[in-house]
Amino acid sequence: MMNPVEISDLTYAYGEGVLRREVLRDVDLRVAPGEIVLLTGPSGSGKTTLLTLAGALRAVQQGSCRVLGRELAGAREADRVALRRNIGFIFQNHNLLGFLSARQNVAMALELDGGTTDRGRLERAGEMLASVGLAEHAEKRPGQLSGGQRQRVAVARALVGSPGLVLADEPTAALDKASGQEVVHLLRDLARSRGAAILLVTHDPRILDVADRIVAMEDGRVVADGAARAVVG
């Protein structure tokens, strides 16, 4: 079975000429199916850039980046956009559409699938919200929910389309300890039950326990990669 993420010799730089600044240098990274990988490191270490490249949000400059079996080096914009439909994204902020209910927000992730009906989408969205414990809040607007609840809606939105890969960027940054824990554990459990791999960027030491593997980065290089215990220890 192929790995959802297979990155080798990936180099990425911002700017041109004398302003050129490499943020990733010959990075290798693999994420196995169903695996939960945490990406840590000081700010500026390139972990966020790595996440955007794996999420097909940026064009690959050098090296190889295969995501869900697609080579992204040299991929067209339209191909990258299409690939993103199979990736679930969770951001620092929930970024839910304020004018839609929680359920409609989750259903937005399904609207790009032409084989679905509006009713079917809303049903699946409702089930997904129930599995993140928000069944009774499905019709509320994001503005009527707490921070933790909103991030759980975002988790539901990321997972409702059964993505092969979930990318999360500091999903607990805006949350207190309890709701942060709750959100990542939900994310882990749901992804496990669906067989989706997770690549999660975080600074938050409180959530390291969810990981199967932790990858530490510094100055655009992977400096440690191993089982959670080993790297943290």
């Binding site: 959802p4 956009v81 439909r85 304020g98 790009l112 032409g114 993505p163 092969g164 669906r194």
Partner: protein
Amino acid sequence: MNAITDLRGRVRDGAREAARPPGLLAASGLALRLAWRQLWSEKARLASAIAGVMFACVLVFMQLGFRAAPFESATTLIGAMRADLFLMNPMTLASFRPEPMARVRVSQALGVEAVQAAVPVYLAQSSFRNPETGRRRTIQLVGFDVEAGVLDLPGLAPLRDALKQPDSFAFDSRSRPEFGPVTQMFQERGAYPVQIGNREMRVVGTIEMGTSFGADGNAVLPEVNFQRVVREQPAVMVDLAAIRLKPGADLLQAQAALRAVLPPDVAVLTQAQLRAHERRYWEEGTPIGFIFTFGSLMGLIVGMVIVYQILFSDIAGHLKEYATLKAMGYSNGHLSRVVLGAAVVLAFLGFVPGVVASAVLYGVVADATFLPLHMTGGRALAVFGMIFAMCAAAGLLAMRKLRDANPADMF
């Protein structure tokens, strides 16, 4: 449970084929729905956007109405003269300032087989003394042989006998009110004297013609009476000739026959051609058309700026959400359709109250100015096209802001 296992199976493949995206129509429908939900969620903003479009709509309708009114009214005099063909001095620019032609041409026209009758028409402007206040005002005099039955003005037929009396005339009841309550006084006391030019004439009845840009009011009188008022015009020089054809005669053949018989110092025109000629003078010889076209354009630009502002601030205020949608796999094209959808919704919602308000305003303005302002289907359609284009242009401009929603900057 089965469903979940099935999904898992698909995901396990890793390289699950991307789900087939919805068709263009379905996607546009979804985009339109999203646009509508976004607009509807902020009702104050929606109301101001609709008001903006409506404002532009009313402005354009009024400008177009004002633009068309003089052209339409310019031909009232000609339009009221019901005859098949007309002879005119080709030098005449407009009926209110006619160049005379020889009366003998009218008799020559009778030589053509298809012609049943031909009457000379005298046109002149004179002053009319308001019977109530005594103030003078310029009136259009139309003199012709009323008994010949060639010019068929509404209300004229019953007055034929009355107009045989010396110094009698028929007053246009649709003249501007500045001429005084002429019609009302006639209904109250019957025929009574009024001064036209330097002569005392008698109102013996009313007909209906309507005002035009060149004339605030009209008086119809037999040619003998006309010559009594307008002494400087010799009877052998006429301003227009109206021709009635024999029943069943072909209009264009008769026109060609007349053209062949008559010398080039007269033009042979159908009524439609005469109207067009009259209209052309006002369209080309005056800046009216340009002024109101310019006014319409200004209205559209103001409306476009308002709609653009609304759409732009919608995007700018939700850049993160738009970027998130892009990260989720929404293409720039789909989001552009959302913006364009919002523009189209605003076009519809602004046009409907706009066309109603304009129709009401047309009535108000028409009553005040006596200009022919009507809401026509063609004009409504044209304005809708303009408003639609205006909103679409605003949407296309606002769409550029979507590029700033870059999902890579979201992390």
